[in-house]
Amino acid sequence: MMTQLLLFNVTNGLIIGAFYVLMALGLSLILNLSNVINFAHGGFLVIGGYIAYTITPYIGFWGALLLAPPLTAIIGLAVERVLIRPLYGRDPLYSLLLTFGLAFMIEDGTRFIWGPQGKPVTIPAFLAQPLSNDLFFITGYRLFMVVVVMIAVALLFLLLRYTRLGVRIRAGTLDLETVAALGINVGMLRSLNFAVGIFLAGLSGVLAAGQLGLEPTMGTGLLMPSFIAIIVGGIGSLPGTLIGGLLIGVASGVTAVFFPAASEAVIYVMMAVILLTRPRGLFGEEGMMS
């Protein structure tokens, strides 16, 4: 019984961790290249979820899964162009305050459009089944989510390592001025990078909607742990963010078995311990992909 409980919570932790990873990777991309701490990232997750909810009746779950993230990215691109771009080069506090306000606007905006009540998102019936009687807590959908996150993360790493766009983004996190002097439109580079980050938030939104249902406030709950995933993994290191996200997910899952009241607090304790012993985070060093 104990083993099963433990397994249940570790699995749960891994799944939550996978969400943190998707969110935190997007946040990290934007932070590394543009020095913007995007407090509205959770808001974009919500937008992704509600877009999926709205279009599912017309194009089905699979269509929504494919379409909602790029639509969210387009909204993100518009926000970046109009609101965030004028703040580049200023103290990061400006963009932090702007996105902080934006998060509230998105939350109230979704409440205004879709109402304050939670909305269920229908997932295909075969994904809703548990895998087996023993592993009743692992539904097909949970496994599916983890696989989608793994594919998204793998594609992101391939993009950053093997495409010119990815190499330029990584170069830009090290020295944006030199990238510009090599003929690259860094404004465009920042926009594309922002769009990639928001795409990941939109994808988390669709996946989360299928698992947890939709609420205007759901983004806020995932945002703080995602920031902690970045700090634990080490600012500037995307592999660190990946491991940080999974680590805090599992830590919180395991704590839920032995000391349920502390399952949320444990990630903050973990962050404090890591910062005290290794102030740059687990994999923190200059630049990413290190």
């Binding site: 010119r164 170069a171 990238v179 002097a181 090599l182 003929g183 404004g187 630049g287 990413m288």
Partner: protein, 240 residues
């Protein structure tokens, strides 16, 4: 003689500090122009102004017939200006090969394969990270990166800084080779004597203003002036 670049009356500031006081200079097409001067004379600031990295508050910059004074840096580079910054500024965490993938692909004779032929050492170390390279290799990489833009004008800021004499000679030979390929060159150097050996034209900058302009040969013959320029430079070598 047509000019690749001309700057008229540049005034550049860092905050409230007035650094350039009306700098005017011209780089003739297909020639090497040396911009010399002691430490703090304003050489790097001049180059940064030309590249749009620190925009001049007054003055006019024309590059290949276009008024680029208010252009953003990337557009100036995409117009055909390769820039090798002071201190090389290679991307330390990226491999050599990745460093070479950053520049805009403008089309032209320079490809990564050709770069590897010109700099076999970079080909050998293409999987190494930038930070693992020696100073000379980093300089080669910085020049290679600028060449991949297929520039018509190459601007180099102190390429000999911190390099062993043998490597400096190699760098200067490459600069001469670029001239032979038809690339116009603006070379900022503290190593006056050696620069004047390969340059056609020369300017001397002092305290943010041009104090000499003429041919490199005339300046080289003015021993007292060259010695004054070399005063702040720790080492001086010749090409031969």
């Amino acid at each position: 003689m047509t000019s690749a670049l001309s700057a008229e009356g540049l005034h550049t500031y860092y905050g409230k500090s007035h650094i350039l006081h009306g700098v005017s200079l011209e780089v003739a097409e297909g020639r090497i122009t040396a911009l010399l001067g002691r430490n703090g004379a304003g050489k790097t600031t001049t180059l940064r102004s030309l590249m749009g990295l620190t925009q001049a508050r007054e003055g006019k910059i024309t590059i290949f017939g276009e008024d680029t004074t208010r252009w953003p840096t990337f557009r100036i580079a995409a117009h055909g200006v390769g820039y090798v910054p002071e201190g090389r500024r290679i991307f330390a965490n990226l491999s050599v090969e990745e460093n070479l993938k950053v520049p805009l692909e403008r089309g032209g004779p320079w490809t990564i394969e050709r770069i590897y032929k010109l700099f076999p050492r970079l080909a050998e170390r293409k999987q190494n990270r930038g930070r693992q390279l020696s100073g000379g290799e980093q300089e080669m990489l910085s020049i290679a990166r600028a060449l991949l833009l297929n520039p018509r004008l190459l601007i180099l800021d102190e390429p000999s800084q911190g390099l062993a004499p043998l490597i400096v000679r190699e760098v200067f030979r490459i600069v001469q080779q670029m001239k032979a390929e038809g690339i116009s060159v603006l070379l900022v150097e503290q190593n006056a004597r050696m620069s004047l050996e390969i340059a056609d034209d020369a300017y001397v900058l002092d305290d943010g203003a041009v104090v000499y302009s003429g041919t490199a040969r005339e300046l080289a013959a003015d021993d007292a002036r060259v010695r004054a320029l070399a005063g702040a430079s720790a080492e001086e070598w010749t090409l031969t």
